[in-house]
């Protein structure tokens, strides 16, 4: 369980350029959930996840993960670092090793794991993200962009985090590459039962994957609810400079014009099924 209590973060605190990036966020996230995080650029998303990952310390407030308060005296920092895996934006720029294997094994090696365990983890992580074994001995710099991205994600997965945070993991990928990585993440979430926080600008991706969604605006958490509830709030989201999936827009407009589809439809399959039901009824 992740519990944030009155968490705030101020950049350049006390100086003339002081600006609050996150303000008084309180929220409890349950273990094992797949949670989306959205908000426009500058809304405080990245600052929030960096605090959850323990990379920066809240200016005020506290973050508790599985009973341990981050940055407190008796918090086992090392253990917390290994518990949370953060995949930053464009992680492929962080590859540095001579071979893919070495790059993925960097985290587990630093955890002080025995050699055969490291090997197992590297292979399992590579497998999870869909990298072939023969790629492991190649230089990461020979790979395509999509493959590099997967190597970088595998590097975090090899640490087997209980909480996986991904900041725009599919930005810049083509639709096939995007779907492949997202399906792998969903698969992994199901199989390993880990908690996932996915930061994304793609409403379609958030709609297809998440169980709950947090919405940030101007440093504040303005919504936190089930995905189906979030996408019922079309107007509020638009006011925040966010969009809803095109399919939600279609269903909303249909409903406004008296076509009887329920609110809060956010996947193509549901939309198709609901519209089909109405049309078939008329046919009968």
């Amino acid at each position: 369980m992740i519990k944030l209590t009155d968490v705030s973060y101020t950049y350049m605190s006390g100086g003339p350029f002081e600006s609050a990036a996150v303000e008084n966020v309180s929220v409890t996230l349950n273990s094992g959930e797949f949670i989306g995080l959205m908000g426009h650029t500058g809304s405080g998303k990245s600052t929030l996840i960096q605090m959850i990952a323990g990379l920066i310390k809240p200016t005020s407030g506290s973050i508790e993960i599985d009973g341990q308060v981050l940055h407190s005296k008796n918090c086992d920092k090392r253990a917390m670092r290994f518990k949370t895996g953060l995949v930053m934006q464009y992680p492929e720029y962080q590859l540095f090793e001579e071979t893919v294997f070495k790059d993925i094994s960097f985290g587990p090696t630093n955890m002080g794991l025995p050699k055969d365990e490291i090997k197992r983890r590297v292979e399992s992580a590579a497998n999870l993200v869909g990298l072939d074994e023969d790629i492991l001995q190649k230089s990461p710099f020979e790979l395509s962009g999509g493959q590099k991205r997967r190597v970088a994600i595998a590097g975090v997965l090899a640490m087997e985090p209980k909480l996986l945070i991904l900041d725009e993991p599919t930005a810049g990928l083509d639709p096939a590459g995007r779907d492949e990585i997202l399906f792998k993440i969903r698969d992994m979430h199901k199989r390993l039962g880990i908690t996932v926080i996915l930061v994304s600008h793609s409403m379609e991706d958030l709609a297809n994957l998440t169980q709950k969604i947090m919405v940030m605006n101007h440093g504040r958490l303005v919504m936190y609810d089930k995905t189906s509830e979030i996408f019922k709030k079309t107007h509020e989201l638009k006011d925040l400079g966010l969009a809803v999936p095109q399919i939600t827009e279609i269903c909303d407009k249909l409903r406004e014009k008296g076509f009887p589809v329920p609110a809060g439809i956010y996947t193509l399959d549901t939309a198709k099924a609901e519209i089909e039901k109405v049309l078939k009824n008329e046919k009968r």
């Binding site: 650029t41 639709p175 096939a176 966010l242 999936p245 399919i247 249909l254 198709k272 089909e276 109405v278």
Partner: protein
Amino acid sequence: MDTNEKLIEIKNVEFLYESTEEPGGSRVLKDVSLDIKKGEFLAVLGHNGSGKSTLAKHLNAILVPEKGSVLVAGFLTSDESLLYEIRQRVGMVFQNPDNQLVATIVEEDVAFAPENLGVNPQEIRERVDYALDAVNMSEYKEHAPHMLSGGQKQRIAIAGVLAMKPDVLVMDEPTAMLDPEGRREILETVKKLNRDEGMTVVMITHFMEEAAQADRVVVIDHGKIIMHGLPKEVFSRVEEIKEIGLDVPQATELAYLLKKEGFDFETDILTADECVNKILSVYQSERGADND
């Protein structure tokens, strides 16, 4: 498109990258031929590694073809003595706005290219004002670029290119790193430049909703142009598009799925409104049939 004048002519272009694995290199472009007309808004689609960025780099002689030719306003890109003429006419904007901004003040950044072209100060002033106005960023001219949002930064990058007074704006995934608001800003800017200034635009994108707004769409796969036509024509080929790892707008896909169920749907639907109207008209006609 008010004219059919060809601005760029790409003829039978082949291009190889050196590769350690494949002796003889890997062929990225295979017999690509394409004309880009003056004043059109062309979208280029293709998955990662399809060759679309390589094609874009051929448009201003960053790369030159192994075989075949590229003519920009009649200038052959493989002739090095014409480089100046070509680069001045074809402005490029790339994915990451942070990599394209050089100065600490917005207007100085926009002035960078004309300064280097040796344009006189009076005209630089005019061009900078014009360019910032064209991307709707005049009020930020004395701001520091790094304090701006992604969409704003990318608009500054576009202004920097406009200040060169190019004939064509080539953009390689200009919205990939932006949030929905930033994406909307860029698309609006590009459409406005195309519509009001008659700027020719070539836009490479992974966002189908953006491509749907172009005059014409070209799809590249494995280094070949496999489809081209109006957005409606291209996206109505839902199965083929999906097969090569691309996507169609959700509105198009919904129409496609309903058509498969036997309803009277065409798949030349691109926007939410078109889809809504189509569903309503099917609904009305089924109702009408009921009453008979």
